[in-house]
Amino acid sequence: MSSPDSFDRYVRQMQFAPLGREGQERIAQARIFLCGCGALGTVLANTLVRAGVGFLRIVDRDFIEPNNLQRQVLFDEDDIAASLPKAIAAANKLRKINSQVVIEAEVADVDPTNIESYAADVDLILDGTDNFETRFLINDLALKSKRPWVYGGCLGAEGQSLTIIPEETPCLRCLIAEPPPPGESPTCDTAGILSPIINVIASIQACEALKILSGKTEAISRQWTIINLWDNSVRQIDVSGLRESVDCPACDRGEFPWLNGERASQSAVLCGRNAVQVSPPRDAASPQLDLAMLEAKLSPLGDVARNPFLLRADISPYTLTVFADGRAIISGTDEISTAKTVYAKYVGT
């Protein structure tokens, strides 16, 4: 627990009357699971670590690329040169920003087999993901475990946010009955993404988090917020009563198909990346991959670089980024079948 003096740095925040010292004390005890640490996730982590949350668990499956720096505020060119995974680079930066916060970084793909362990000891889940599959998984877990979560999503200059308190407010599935079918929804690749909308939406999510964590849930937004910074529009759509009026499989019937694995995929095309992630089936008992052995195996085939967290091999026309947990991101294809073939050929099963 933080000593009273350690609160000096939060004096401006505590001067804000609705929060006060009591709110700050609750925030300092609060535990958060941040699912995904890209554009939204870095802004969320930056804001909440500066605000003095007690504990932040960051889980992200990805590594940093040059085109991330335009909007992913915790990363820099040194992180790219070191080929750091996002979770590790973010944690390094955040510990320098506020050493009072306990930060846990996990380089992993959040899926039905592990999400319950990541969320078991937290008060709040924050959405920093870039795909619907993980968001619907978070929604299932949040409803089942009765933990609040805050949805955020962005595209182009447009973004949306919704605060979800299980059994009290509408959930993501009350609002969006099904995620878009693959290939039907534009991505950051086809429609682009402007950094300011990320900062706006993540800041709304972060403020909702501060309300929840300080015990001021009466102050949360009960509306679906949609902002377009290019068209200069801010819309607040009233969703009160939605939970009672729709037949939501999650809220009304306790059906959680993303959490029980029925809707889980083992491979996913990554948003805007000409890349596919391949995740071999594994459980907690599965051993870590021996990256040194893999380096020796792949070195004759192309350029290979390795650090303690991942290995990168350029084997034309593909680039393989293999993580110690066995996952790989295959760049140079949007085809899952091609990626699986490349994985099987160079990493093995």
């Binding site: 939204l40 999503g153 595209l155 447009e158 969006i176 929804s185 429609a191 819309r235 729709v246």
Partner: protein
């Protein structure tokens, strides 16, 4: 009566980059039928073959959410704005 239909970023590619179109319609269903006639590519992104609104898309009139199914009968009035809003996944 003339209704403004606002097109979200995610669907503007289906309609040449336009962010708003006008249709003559007295209900939400009329407005969608007009979109089917005038902008079939956009319509197919909004509605399934059965005519139901796709399950990842919401409609709202002014700032009021249109309920799935019976909400399509919602009456429109001159000057109303019908907004098409898909969930967005980036982040």
């Amino acid at each position: 009566m003339l209704i403004a239909v606002q097109i979200p970023t995610a669907l503007r590619a289906e309609i040449g980059g336009t962010k708003q179109v006008s249709v003559e319609a007295s209900t939400v269903r009329d407005a969608l039928e007009q979109l089917e006639l005038l902008h079939p590519k956009l319509y197919r992104s909004v509605c399934e073959e059965t005519g139901a609104v796709r399950r990842h898309i919401n409609l709202f009139v002014n700032l009021k959410l249109v309920r799935r199914g019976t909400g399509l009968n919602t009456a429109l009035h001159p000057g109303d704005t019908l907004t098409i809003m898909p969930a967005v996944s980036g982040g």
